[in-house]
């Protein structure tokens, strides 16, 4: 990697690091909170169901710590944490428009001998790597802390769930990046992204359409309940993410600054 490429990655890191740090701190705190507030009786938790499954299924499932950890972490904390982190990372923009945010200077960046494709590509990739770290590292912590409460969540199973969550959040992230590229302004991107997130959450919770929701893929319910990897959903999410990322970069390439 050339010195110029390294500095490009460093630049992308400096522009996103605060959101990443906040996300990691939130998820790490949530991982610890899961065990500090560990219940004596699982049945008292999730009386109204959880994001991942309905109330009846929760009651059937909550007989051991394994299910409780899945519902609390993969079905709630990681799902929400990654989703909001993806929105925050995408809101920083690929290549800022002149009116697009608190740290202008797009003309300086564009005066560098770097193609816009590379500038935008490095930014997207940086966000994706940060999401990967945010999905995996706190999950490893959750797996490692489980024995402190006499429970168990194997690392391999935890990583599989984390990767499923990552596949789902990649689609969300690509969608938010596209919004940011189309709308240009940070505030519009954030508002649009939040609305889409709420809509997605609604489709997840509404019975009948739940099975088509990206959030369901992120919880990894098929893997937890039946041991199946939802390949169709995984491939659909990755294809969706790749297509939208490509579209975002093309928009940035064609824009006047």
């Amino acid at each position: 990697m050339s010195a110029a490429d390294k500095t490009l990655w460093y630049k992308a890191w400096t522009e996103t690091r605060w959101f990443f740090r906040i996300g990691i701190v939130f998820l790490t705190a949530s991982a610890f909170a899961l065990y500090f507030g560990y219940p004596d009786d699982y049945a008292t938790r999730f009386p109204n169901g959880a994001l991942a499954v309905g109330a009846e299924q929760v009651r059937a499932l909550l007989r051991d710590g394994h299910a409780y950890i899945w519902l609390s972490w993969f079905g709630t904390s990681l799902l929400l944490g990654l989703s909001f982190l993806s929105l925050a990372l995408a809101s920083t923009g690929l290549v800022r428009s002149p009116e697009g945010g608190p740290a202008p200077g797009v003309t300086y960046v564009l005066s560098m001998p770097v193609s816009r494709r590379k500038l935008a590509g490095v930014r997207v990739a940086t966000g994706f790597l940060e999401l990967t770290a945010a999905a995996i590292l706190p999950t490893l912590l959750v797996c490692a802390l489980a024995p402190t409460q006499g429970a168990s969540f194997p690392v391999g199973e935890g990583l599989t769930h984390a990767l499923l969550a990552l596949c789902g959040v990649s689609a969300l992230y690509a969608l938010f990046v596209l919004l940011s590229a189309v709308l240009g302004e940070l505030s519009k991107g954030v508002i649009g992204g939040t609305l889409l997130f709420l809509y997605g959450m609604f489709t997840f919770l509404a019975s009948g359409v739940r099975r088509f929701s990206v959030f369901r893929l992120m919880t990894g319910d098929a893997f937890f309940l039946r041991g199946e990897i939802p390949w169709l959903g995984v491939l659909a999410c990755l294809a969706f993410a790749a297509t939208l990322t490509y579209a975002s970069i093309r928009i940035v390439e064609g824009r006047d600054y």
Partner: protein
């Protein structure tokens, strides 16, 4: 089109919606020259510079910088590798220090001049530890100039480079530009409203009005060919005797370009009591060009 020219455009065009910012701009800037790019607000100077840098897409016509087509994205990257740029806004992108910004920038330029960076850090009194995004306007101009000068560029495209600078810094900047041309045969193409600065260092001038070049020549040629002619008559001179002349009672004043002898001869034939021919400033030429466009 030959590569003896650092910048050459032919019928270059750019519109933003219904607004035509650049309307068939044709200009040629020889390598090694310092060319002032003059025009009123909204004349199309910034848009032209951004098209040369590949920041704004070319709407029509053709343009080359350093012999490379500006409309080609790959060649545009090469143009930027060999060009120093000071933008109109002079803003920096993120909350990093001046020192970090220098390190970031130098990584992209194989011909980076650490000696030049060091010299102007000292001359411009820029603190390495200060946040680049929080500098005052004048300090941002100094930093933008330093970052452009130290790139070891063959071409400098500068948009109002002295904006916000105090007189002593303006002097330093103008000296730096002249020194750079002498040392490295760099071409300097700079947009400015400060005609005195242009007159001080430029050897060529291009005047643009409403997206079109109305004048492009060497400054010496222009000054040699333009004269202010003041004619005093005994009686009211006839209307329309001299196109574009300013009338003040029995006195007419006009700017003559390359036809001074003809104007003087006509004035004498019309029995002018006195004919006074004076040299002109760049400001006279600029105002006349803008008026006549």
């Amino acid at each position: 089109m030959t590569s003896e020219l650092a910048i050459e455009t032919h019928e270059l065009r750019k519109s933003f919606g219904a607004k035509e910012a650049v309307r068939g701009l044709t200009l040629a800037v020889p390598r090694g020259s310092i060319c002032g790019f003059l025009g009123g607000n909204g004349a199309g100077k910034t848009t032209t510079l951004k098209m040369l840098m590949g920041m704004t897409r070319v709407g029509g016509g053709e343009g080359r910088a350093l012999g490379l087509r500006i409309a080609d994205p790959t060649l545009s990257t090469e143009i930027r590798r060999r060009t120093g740029f000071v933008s109109e806004d002079k803003l920096f992108p993120w909350s990093i220090t001046v020192g970090e910004l220098l390190s970031f920038t130098r990584a992209f330029y194989p011909r980076w001049r650490p000696d030049v960076a060091e010299r102007y850090l000292h001359t411009f009194q820029l603190p390495l530890g200060a946040s680049a995004g929080r500098l005052s306007k004048g300090m941002r101009s100094r930093l933008a100039l330093l970052l452009a000068l130290a790139r070891g560029a063959e071409l400098l495209l500068l948009d109002e480079p002295t904006e916000g600078l105090d007189p002593s810094m303006i002097e330093e900047t103008l000296k730096a530009l002249v020194a750079l041309v002498a040392e490295q045969e760099t071409t300097v193409f700079f947009a400015s409203h400060q005609l005195a600065h242009v007159e001080q260092i430029a050897d060529r001038v291009c005047i643009i009005d409403r997206g079109r070049a109305v004048l492009s020549d060497s400054l010496d040629e222009l000054k040699a060919s333009y004269r202010r002619v003041r004619l005093v008559f005994d009686e009211e001179p006839p209307e329309g005797a001299f196109a574009g002349a300013r009338r003040d009672g029995r006195t007419l004043s006009l700017l003559a370009a390359r036809n001074v002898d003809e104007v003087v001869a006509r004035a004498k034939a019309m029995s002018a009591r006195s004919v006074d021919v004076q040299p002109v400033t760049l400001k006279d030429i600029f105002l006349e060009s803008a008026k006549g466009a």
